[in-house]
Symmetry: C2
């Protein structure tokens, strides 16, 4: 490749919402600094929008509703895509990449669904494909994983990658609010959208998990490969139970490499309060990485917001533009591993199980027997007698008293754990399962579980 001789780099912007308008602002305000870093001026040649309303930051003659026409212009060097969703964006970006135009995208859904096709198109034409802003907003994360850790073996990536759910769980933990109350507060403060499904049901985090697993393990993981559970069922009692165990509840995106296979999953989990991720509260994001040589790393910052996401987009844009100027290329998506993906049932985790039981002799033995039958080893068990008359005494005489058994298991397959819980509900002495949550040590010893409240 050869450089472009220092001529201006032409940029087409698709989408001009919260992030796009910040990108336009920064391109203007920092024009001189960006030119110095790139080695040539950055020139915005068009902004594709759905409706040609006025955008205060964008000169009217740059606005167009013809995204396809803009992307196909011969003079465009880099396409910056901030539209989101799968179509029509996929077609537009494939067209751009095949024509040798570099692409900067914040589109987690598209990257998680069809990153392979985009990477292949980029690879074929020698164009760059960057998408730092698609995961954890402002936090530099994909570049460190792809480049800084390129000489290491990443074994686990575990992150708080969705600010809405972290805000809700943090609010539940600090105020004792239940899920519905905390969701309403998040909505009032602008941390939750009117339809919060993508966030609270874990779709957003699952897309990010797919992208992280693909880059960390040099393989292809799509959003469909990611086991996904949201936070709707996390109760105030779960949060209190976590606190009693020295833990806190977080919605985690966890990607692990286990014996040449990949586990990628999103679910709420208890983590020890001593873990660096535990103190990440509110709308902040953080991603914890373990690598064979580097050990434990954590990256922390704001995962959303216009200026924050624009910062990540501009970092990518500078890299793509600079490569145009000097005739270089960014790192390819080297998905050379093609690792199989573990089902959730095969994944090894730990469970916290709270059982409402009759407080009578032999109950613990029965319960422990069910765990043993399923090959699940119990780490700690604590019985909390509640001294209330049983609700199932239908003969008028006082029934056996209620108690709660709080059990934390050692690591076992998720299938064995789920089957154990299922079988427990069939025991006469078990009145109900009050709570089930996975427990993740994430590379730290879980020392204080069962340590009392």
């Amino acid at each position: 490749m050869v450089g472009n001789g220092g001529r201006p780099i032409s940029i087409a912007l698709l989408g001009c919402g919260v992030v796009g308008s910040q990108v336009v602002r920064l391109l203007t305000e920092q024009a001189d600094e960006l030119a110095a870093r790139v080695g040539a001026p950055l020139r915005l040649v068009g902004v594709a929008v759905r409706r040609p309303q006025r955008h205060p930051d964008v000169p009217a003659d740059l606005l167009t509703t013809d995204a396809a026409g803009l992307v196909s212009r011969d003079d465009v060097d880099v396409v910056v895509e901030l539209v989101g969703g799968i179509e029509p964006v996929r077609g537009l970006l494939l067209t751009a990449l095949k024509a040798g135009k570099s692409v900067v995208s914040a589109n987690k859904a598209l990257l998680a669904e069809d990153g392979a096709a985009l990477a292949a198109a980029a690879d074929e034409s020698g164009a760059d494909l960057y998408y730092e802003a698609s995961v954890a907003g402002a936090i530099p994360l994909l570049r460190p994983i792809q480049q800084s850790l390129a000489g290491d073996r990443i074994v686990r990536v575990a992150g708080i990658v969705n600010g809405t759910t972290n805000f809700i769980l943090s609010a539940m933990a600090s105020s004792g609010a239940n899920y519905t109350e905390a969701l309403e507060e998040a909505g009032r403060l602008g941390y939750a959208e009117a339809d919060p499904t993508a966030d609270v049901d874990g779709y957003d985090a699952a897309s990010k998990a797919a992208i992280l697993a693909s880059l960390a393990f040099h393989t292809r993981v799509t959003a469909d490969d990611v086991h996904r559970e949201g936070i709707r069922d996390v109760s105030a009692a779960d949060i209190a139970a976590a606190k009693a165990l020295g833990c806190t509840v977080k919605l985690l995106a966890i990607c692990e490499q286990v014996d040449g296979r990949v586990s990628a999953r999103v679910h709420p989990a208890m983590i020890p309060r001593s873990h660096p991720l535990a103190s990440v509260s509110g709308a902040y994001n953080a991603v914890f990485i373990e690598a064979a040589a580097a050990g434990q790393l954590m990256f922390y910052g704001q995962g959303a917001g216009g200026p924050q996401t624009a910062s990540a987009v501009l970092g990518d844009l500078v890299a793509a533009a600079r490569n145009r100027v000097i005739g270089g290329r960014g790192p390819r998506d080297t998905a050379h591993a093609a690792l199989p993906v573990l089902s959730m049932g095969e994944t090894h985790t730990r469970y916290h199980v709270a059982l409402d039981v009759n407080d009578r002799a032999g109950v613990l033995a029965q319960v422990a027997g069910v765990f043993a039958e399923h090959g699940v080893s119990i780490a700690t068990v604590r019985q909390e007698g509640r001294g209330e008359a049983g609700r199932d005494a239908d003969d008028g005489a006082p029934g056996p008293k209620d108690a709660t058994l709080v059990i934390v298991t050692h690591s076992a397959s998720d299938a064995a754990l789920a089957a154990t819980v299922q079988a427990l509900t069939g025991l006469d002495a078990v009145r109900g399962v009050a709570g089930v949550l996975r427990v993740e040590g994430l590379g730290r010893p879980v020392t204080d579980l069962g340590g009392g409240s």
Copy 2:
């Protein structure tokens, strides 16, 4: 530039100590994965050592004591330098870069003293110069600053970048030990060297501050530009005073851009316990970055150790090797700003001052008057009466009682603060200055200062 057609990339290693031997090990163990990421095999062609003793991980025929000869070999593509110190390394690396060989170095002292000459040599020949391992060991930090944040304006970098001093301060905070005891413990556990000067007097951190300031602000800052104070004078009383204010004491490397000028300094400081840096304990490192658009970011991990540092070296090596294969180039050191460096006296900070005073009417007014004379505004003041007879009563009669005044100032120039403290020692009513420490909010409100113990 053109690629190399996929022929193996030849590597010369200078130094084979704790880090170098790990680099050799990882190059061997991960040969296939590294080749896949680079696009060509990595081939170690020679290892320069001071004494030709046996190195269990290195084939004997690769060992040489002739570093200059190794660096000058025509077939060497990348020189990895893990020797440290200024000479003879500077000459060797300049020779390599001028001959178009790329350089990967972990040499903070050299980069901090003469990074400009190395960068210029790299720029001229089109070679790469990477030194991620020189700051904060395994933590990906320089690449995020140089690349991910290339489209943003960094306003502050503040980090715990020396594990030895962080271990000592953490031990003092958790056990109440004094400095000497904590230093001895650090030595016993291998966290402090026999001669701990470079660590405890802040030289190591100052080199890292120079590198961080240079990259963050696109300018040139050398170690000599960095104001440097170590931790020898931090007392158990200082640590206790910090705790009483809701703070903790850390040795910080702080780089700020203020009105087009740069402040770079290393000194112990109180920071609020609610700050993300406050919970970084033991030998861990963490660096906190504030950027105009990205907001607050933090990077956390192990700052030293053989495998950890080797991980950073290999990340750089993969990047340099890959650029050889595809004919690309990494980011240049774009020191386009040439910002003047503020003296410490001009730098604005806050002070915590503990004064032993006579507990009699008018003392506070006198003390407050001295602050006012120097234009230093007091944020909080707390008087702790101790009820002891004064030690300066030399006439046999009971003297005035002792008290301690604890004062936290608002932000003022360091020169004004230092002059204030100097003037306070001249007051009759002031028996002595029990402690002076800077207080840094680091982008967080310091809300709980003076909130009692």
